[in-house]
Amino acid sequence: MAGIGFRLREMAEKKTFIQWLKLYTFSAVIFAGPWLISIVTLALISAFAIPLMGHEELRVFIVNIVYIYFLSLVTTGVLHLTLSRYVSDQIYMHNSQAIGQVFVGAVALTCAVETIIGALGLFMADLDLFYKFCILGLYVTVCIIWVEMVFLSALKDYLGIVGAFAIGYALSFALGQMLGMSFGLGGLALGFLCGQVLLMGYLMYRVLDEFGIEGGFHVDFLRYLRRYPSLALAGVAYNLAIWIDKVAYWHSPSGIRVQSYFYTHFPYDSAMFIAFLTIIPTLAIFLLRVETDFFWKYKAYYGAIVHRAPFKEILQRKDEMRSVLVSAFKTSLIYQGGITTLAFILMPFLLMLVGIDPALVKVFRVGVVGAFFHGYFLILIILLLYYDFRGVVLFLSTSFLICNAGFSILAIYLGDDFAGFGYLFACAIQCLIGFLMFSNRFRNLEYLTFMRQPVG
């Protein structure tokens, strides 16, 4: 028989089109987790250490912790989403051995690169050498913990992980205090480091226990940096964006130089960290719903497409997916509205509790409102990541970075009365843009899902 006619099948078979639709086992924990842990730690430290702030050595240590979280989030931000995409793809291909190998590779690489970055950061500081080593160790350990989080999120054992963190941090605080009492600053750092190392070791054990360590290691995921540059860039941009207002305040005229080139700002830092605490319960509950209820509907939606459902059924699944989101938004808005209002009203009282001058209430209140928008902005970004709208996420992260930097500088220029307004405006605007973009993408979900599949 002459003619091709149907030999196109070779193509059809090669790219079984049913398979193009991969469900990303994306997890909100990857994107939000490290920041939430940092903020809780920093808020707790800010709240409880304030009465001790007079203590010079403690102030140095706290400012170093802040810098550790700041730098570790921004630098490992390159990896969070890229690595998680890689892990997701390997899970999809049932290639758990590769996950174990790439885990070892990623940890080794992080260890090497972050040691250099950390060493460069500490090199010029006028600090005791032993203390420097402890801080460097702490920095690298925290970075590795962030990398571990990516792999842990695949296990979906959130309770176990939260428990591990709670114990790890409790140990850090306890050991830090113990050793700090007897050996001063160096002891404090060493004790804190010990707790973190134990936590890192335990998490490492969990990951390797799940995925195994046969067959050496590799850094195969690095090619994903080139394949999905938007993921790496978005990770860095977002993590830089959430710190940029603090950095701006550190270097503002009212910023305080604590030691060498380590700055802080009071009350801005504490206000922002503590204010963010008000959104965390809702955020956690919302994200839990995303991971459970929403994720099922999300799977059902793509499942309907892949399992050859008629278009009507696909639309039905989408409708169910939307109702879950709408109801999650509704309930969370009611609760969060209440919490935020309450925190806003009761702020002077809360500040008294932790020993902060109630006269500073304004910046805390601004922070609480900003955190409200920030929380929802974060949720929108996570939802966009679920649907793999990488370009939109990159756009939002970048514009958040620019907005937060620009408005914060403007607020600094306008004076202390406007402290926190930069952050508030940036978050509110981003939240609005994010919402518009998300609802637009969601409305056109089928079109985007089908028609953005490349031909050939």
């Binding site: 002459a2 091709i4 006619g5 149907f6 196109l8 099948r9 089109f17 050859r308 459902a309 031909v455």
Partner: protein, 511 residues
């Protein structure tokens, strides 16, 4: 590149795939040395096509390839609304659903790069407007059907069209497509764009061949039905493909200046498929008769003990070798000394070859039936007493012509042109006598009876052989086929003939 006289458009055949059509194209080009040719090969993809199997003759001045699964390169995004263009497209799609291709010309223009308000692959593969059209069409014609299959089927169907619309065409006075389908569409495009001539030769009928493929294709999704449906009933997607091929054939028939095929049966099918009867002509295949004269003489002189029966062809299901083997058993009970050969390639379908071997063992014929694999037929013809063909589908099989030219009586199933070949097409032709027996397909008994008659009645066998020889000499000479196409080229491309004598013959017949 200079404008050539004739541009051949070969889909999935010449120069990559060895077979009847390729041999035919190669013969025409290499024989008509005074005509300048260009050649377009339409393939699936660069990776899938293997090696070139024919050395292109010197008079092929330009050679191009179009790969259907090559993603379109023209992805220019246009932001102008072009609402009318999309409305037109949607109306055209509705036309197609009704089998109406009257607006095809306008649409080809619309999709051609550079035309005003052109629709680009971007519009079709990524654009919002086309997505809306897709949805509306789905609701109208496919509601309730697997959407993902619908979507990708449409995409798979559109992609080759863009490869053709945006493909690079050699310039020629006349385009000659070797089948309808994609080659036919390219011919139509060329004709409309270059204001050139377009003719079409179908060896097998494209839509029939696709029908066979589609019913056999396992990979196409078919919706599950609760009711019992006949196995031959096609699923919606299969129907869609068939519809596409049917429309492509209609389009080619509509725009072709002339339509050729090998024999009357195919011509009738083309007419059934929408070809205007006045455009349809028959140009049979031919062979180099003189080359068989020597074999004929050798055969007359050959002396051997046992009668030899041979099936010549690849061992594949389409040749229905099993029916032949069963017939062998029946023949053997009447003519115990007879020997049977299956002469042809054994590599194409190994599973089927195994099945045939098993059948031979079961029927206890190991000593009588021999499967040789590929052989040089010229060494075998002088010793064969009866050539058998049990195929379930053929066009105009060369093996029958060759057997006839060597003076061998033929037993052939009633497929393709076999009846015409063995019994004659015109009354004049029929007067030459029968060159063998026609049997029903899948009928071992009839086949065996015919073979037995041939083997037992030597006189009749000789008469049949002579009739066949005469018929081939008169109607199926290759020079005759070449002359006919040269005349066609002269008619439609203004090619000047230099083969004087043949020109006279053709002129006589044309007049």
């Amino acid at each position: 590149m200079a404008r050539t006289d004739v541009c051949f458009i070969a889909e999935g055949s010449y120069p990559y795939v060895v077979g009847g059509v390729s041999t035919w194209v190669h013969d025409i080009i290499s024989s008509l040395k005074d005509i300048s040719f260009s050649l377009v090969f339409i393939g699936v993809s660069k990776e899938a096509q293997g090696k070139i199997r024919y050395e292109l003759p010197k008079n092929v001045l330009e050679y191009k390839e179009i790969h259907l699964m090559q993603p379109p390169s023209f992805f220019q995004r246009r932001f102008s609304r072009r609402k009318e263009a999309f409305q037109e497209l949607e109306a055209f799609i509705e036309d197609l659903a009704r089998g109406d291709i009257s607006r095809a010309e306008v649409m080809i223009e619309r999709f051609s790069p550079g035309s005003k308000d052109a629709l680009s692959p971007y519009d079709i593969f990524y654009g919002r407007d086309f997505w809306d059209i897709l949805l509306r069409t789905y609701e109208k014609h496919f509601d309730g059907f697997s959407f993902i299959d619908y979507f990708w089927t449409v995409r798979f169907m559109m992609m080759p069209l863009f490869a053709l619309l945006h493909g690079d065409l050699p310039e020629a006075a006349l385009y000659h497509a070797t089948c309808t389908g994609y080659a036919g569409l390219l011919g139509v495009i060329a004709r409309l764009r270059n204001n050139a001539g377009f003719i079409l030769t179908e060896h097998g009928i494209y839509t029939n061949e696709r029908m066979i493929e589609i019913t056999q294709a396992q990979w196409i999704y078919r919706e599950q039905t609760d009711t019992v449906v006949p196995r031959r009933q096609l699923g919606q997607i299969q129907n869609l493909w068939m519809k596409k091929f049917d429309l492509l054939s209609r389009l080619a028939y509509k725009y072709a200046d002339a339509i050729f095929t090998l024999y009357e049966g195919n011509r009738q099918m083309q007419i059934q498929g929408g070809a205007p009867p006045e455009k349809c002509e028959i140009i049979p295949n031919g062979i180099e008769v003189d080359a068989y004269e020597q074999l004929y003489l050798k055969r007359l002189a050959a002396s051997k003990k046992a009668p030899v029966v041979a099936l010549v062809g690849r061992v594949t299901p389409i040749k229905d070798v099993k029916t032949f083997i069963k017939a062998c058993k029946m023949v053997q009970s009447e003519v115990p000394e007879a020997r049977f050969f299956i002469l042809g390639n054994k590599e194409e379908d190994e599973k089927y070859v195994e099945e045939c071997e098993r059948l031979i063992r079961v029927l206890d014929l190991q000593k009588h039936v021999i499967m040789t694999g590929s052989v040089n037929m010229r060494e075998y013809y002088p010793f064969i007493d009866c050539v058998v063909l049990t195929s379930i589908s053929e066009a105009q099989p060369f093996v029958v012509l060759e057997a006839m030219a060597t003076g061998i009586p033929v037993v052939a199933s009633n497929v393709g042109a076999c009846m015409e070949l063995l019994e004659g097409a015109s009354a004049e032709d029929q007067a030459l006598g029968r060159a063998g027996f026609i049997t029903n397909i899948r009928s071992p008994r009839e086949t065996a009876d015919a073979i037995i008659k041939v083997l037992k009645d030597q006189d009749m066998a000789r008469r049949m052989g002579e009739a066949g020889r005469l018929r081939v000499r008169r109607y199926y000479q290759r020079s005759r086929m070449l002359g006919a196409y040269e005349a066609v080229y002269r008619r439609f491309a203004g090619v000047k003939s230099k083969i004087g004598e043949q020109r006279e013959i053709i002129a006589e017949e044309a007049g």
